[in-house]
């Protein structure tokens, strides 16, 4: 076992991909000389050269579209969009080309493209730099959405994403880059199909992903001290959703709390809630609860940012309420 960080695990995954497959290259703003705005790609330019570590101009729509074209042309691009906030400038290329060309061409062309971006709030970057839109992206057919919440997934999801013949968007929560964790020395690719039970429990299912996994696990520990045995599920892949794993948990616990950093209305938590209520209406002993972000652009001051996004006390309260505990 080695101890490493989420950031270094992603860098190791990129380095491995570049080494294994000559078709792989990394392209995006400041991935080269600057070393990546989150220092993920630091050192890669020196190691792999400017042909494979490509600094782009500030042109999100075009370098994402160029990634789509390069994938069509036989390459395996890893496009880094610095943050999800800027990806809105490339949304047309993602929705109307990356997600759609395979279908419009009657299956003649696939787009083996990986797009990585940082997401989420938590660093007081204010309204234009704190979006959590990964669940929103999960609405689009034709793409796969993944959100590594652990060092192991940060290390392993990229390779599997590159092997996927279709576009995969990887959302890295910006508060996780410094997170430490241990990895097997031979750690490598991980599957992208199954959600993971991060903490087994029998009383209530806490379903989350990405940046809120840690807070949800904290809440579960607190609940345990209170005699409530919570099961914590990490979705890992937001599209497609691994419903069998969620269903198994619901059948066991009969109570569900979904924790999602997206704005509540229209967040992924709504889809999960709707699906579970459709398939397990008669298994549920309590209404499905959601702990999401408040419907406000994220404010700058820490106390307001903290109040805007899900926190352990709210998760605990929702779980207790699902258990019928008061106060």
């Amino acid at each position: 076992m080695i101890t490493t960080t989420y950031r270094d695990a992603i860098r190791a995954a990129i380095r491995e991909a570049l080494t294994k497959d000559p078709r792989v290259f990394l392209m995006g703003e400041d991935v080269g000389r600057y070393g990546g705005s989150y220092a993920v790609s630091k050192g890669l330019l020196a190691e792999f050269g400017p042909d494979r570590i490509r600094d782009t101009p500030l042109s999100e729509s075009t370098f994402v579209g160029a990634g789509i074209g390069a994938a069509l042309g036989g390459m395996r691009p890893i496009v880094e969009v610095m943050t999800v906030n800027f990806s809105l400038l490339a949304l047309d290329q993602i929705v109307n080309n990356a997600a759609t060309i395979r279908h419009m061409s009657g299956g003649q062309f696939s787009i083996p493209l990986v797009i990585r971006m940082a997401t989420g709030a938590g660093r007081q970057l204010a309204a234009q730099h704190a979006h959590s839109l990964e669940g929103w992206y999960a609405h689009i057919p034709g793409i796969r959405i993944v959100a590594p919440a652990t060092v192991e997934d940060a290390r392993g999801m990229l390779w599997t994403a590159l092997e996927d013949p279709d576009p995969v968007l990887i959302f890295e929560h910006q508060t996780l880059y410094n997170m430490e964790g241990s990895l097997a020395d031979n750690a490598g690719a991980v599957d992208l199909d199954k959600a993971a039970v991060r903490r087994p429990g029998k009383d209530v299912s806490l379903i989350t992903y990405g940046g809120t996994l840690g807070k949800t696990l904290q809440a579960a520990e607190a609940l345990a001290r209170d005699g409530i045995d919570a099961e914590v599920i990490d979705l890992r892949t937001l599209r497609p959703l691994d419903m069998p794993t969620l269903a198994a948990s619901v059948k066991k616990t009969r109570r569900v709390v979904i924790v999602d950093e997206g704005w509540r209305s229209g967040s992924l938590s709504a889809e999960i809630s709707a699906r579970l209520a459709e398939s397990h209406f008669y298994d549920l002993d309590a209404p499905i609860a959601r702990v999401c972000s408040a419907e406000v652009p994220i404010p700058y001051p820490k106390h307001l940012e903290d109040a805007a996004v899900p926190q352990p006390p709210a998760i605990i309260a929702a779980a207790r309420e699902a258990m019928g505990r008061r106060g």
Partner: protein, 338 residues
């Protein structure tokens, strides 16, 4: 790239150019007819009047080169060598269509001829072309990517970003601007502060040339010059074709924005009649044109029959081709596999 069986006097390049233009013209006239009978639906954007551009320009490409087109791409598709049968079946939405019927008129795709669509988002194909050229450059392949777009697309941010990136990275992109003076009902003077589009290309240090888009030989010559420069490693080139759309923008356009007189004036410069006039003299030309028209009429009749005989994809297949199934794994060999 005429379908061999209908090719006349293969030795005569000029005859072939004429034949190609007439094929496109008659094909689209048939499409307009089929639209009114309801066989073809959705949006139908006719290229009539602009045939010299696709036919002349695509002479400069080799079979391995890539093409990225617009929603007005029947001419590009036929001139590139997509069979008329497959194209007509696509217009019908039949499974035998070149996009298996999923795309229709605006989304013609064909892997064999490296035809990357038919894109219905104005300017949406420009970044794709830059990426296709990047893939060629990184794999040291000597190919060129030809990207067609209209005068209207030049106003989109994607034009600016794509010209800059292609120029910055010296990528083999052939930017082919079909300036037919209008973007739907908006004349270029109402869309562009600078109506000389070459000046825009030059602002990225991209060499630019404008040519009479109604003259197929001039189009071919200019495009060959540009393509050769790219193959010599000079980076992207920009060619502006000054042309005109004879028909409405789409089948829903009442053409309130231009006078008949302007249209008639341009029709005098019809690329087909003006070119055939230069071919031979009198009788001989008539005979040649007659022979071409007969061959084309036959090809179109066959294409319609092919489309009519085509099949509708079963509704059970609705969800096909959203994601790549294992059966198509060959499209994307596992990473690392060489």
């Amino acid at each position: 790239m005429t379908d061999p069986k209908v090719r006349l006097q293969p030795d005569q390049h000029r005859t072939r150019l004429l034949h190609e233009m007439i094929r496109i013209r008659r094909f689209e006239e048939k499409c307009a007819e089929l639209y009114s009978t309801g066989k073809i639906r959705g949006f139908l954007h006719l290229y009539i009047g602009e045939e010299a551009v696709a036919v002349g320009a695509l002479q400069a490409l080799s079979p391995e080169d890539a093409v990225v087109a617009t929603y007005r791409e029947h001419g590009h598709a036929l001139a590139r060598g997509i069979s008329m049968n497959a194209l007509m079946a696509e217009m019908y939405g039949k499974h035998e269509g070149c996009s298996h019927g999923r795309g229709g008129s605006m989304h013609v795709f064909d892997a064999k001829t490296h035809f990357y669509g038919g894109n219905a988002i104005v300017g949406g194909g420009l970044p794709l072309a830059v990426g296709l050229a990047l893939a060629d450059a990184m794999q040291r392949r000597p190919h060129v990517t030809a990207c067609f777009f209209g005068d209207g697309a030049v106003a989109e941010g994607e034009f600016h970003e794509s010209m800059n990136l292609a120029a910055l990275w010296k990528l083999p992109v052939l930017f082919l601007c079909e300036n037919n003076l209008y973007a739907m009902g908006t004349r270029i003077e109402r869309a562009q502060a600078q109506v000389d589009l070459r000046a825009k290309a030059q602002s990225y240090l991209v060499a630019a040339e404008a040519v009479d888009g109604m003259d197929v030989t001039a189009v071919e010559a200019a495009t060959r010059r540009a393509a050769e420069g790219i193959r010599r490693g000079e980076g992207p080139k920009f060619v502006e074709y000054r042309t005109y759309r004879f028909r409405a923008h789409s089948m829903f356009d009442a053409e309130l924005y231009r006078d008949k007189a302007e249209v008639e004036a341009w029709k005098v410069r019809d690329p087909i009649t003006t070119f055939s006039a230069t071919l031979k003299s009198g009788q001989a030309t008539e005979v040649l044109v007659k022979a071409i028209e007969d061959a084309v009429a036959e090809e179109i009749a066959e294409a319609v029959a092919f489309a009519e005989a085509g099949t509708w994809e079963p509704v059970e297949h609705l969800l096909n081709d959203v994601y790549t199934p294992a059966r198509d794994a060959h499209l994307n060999p596992a990473v690392g596999a060489k």
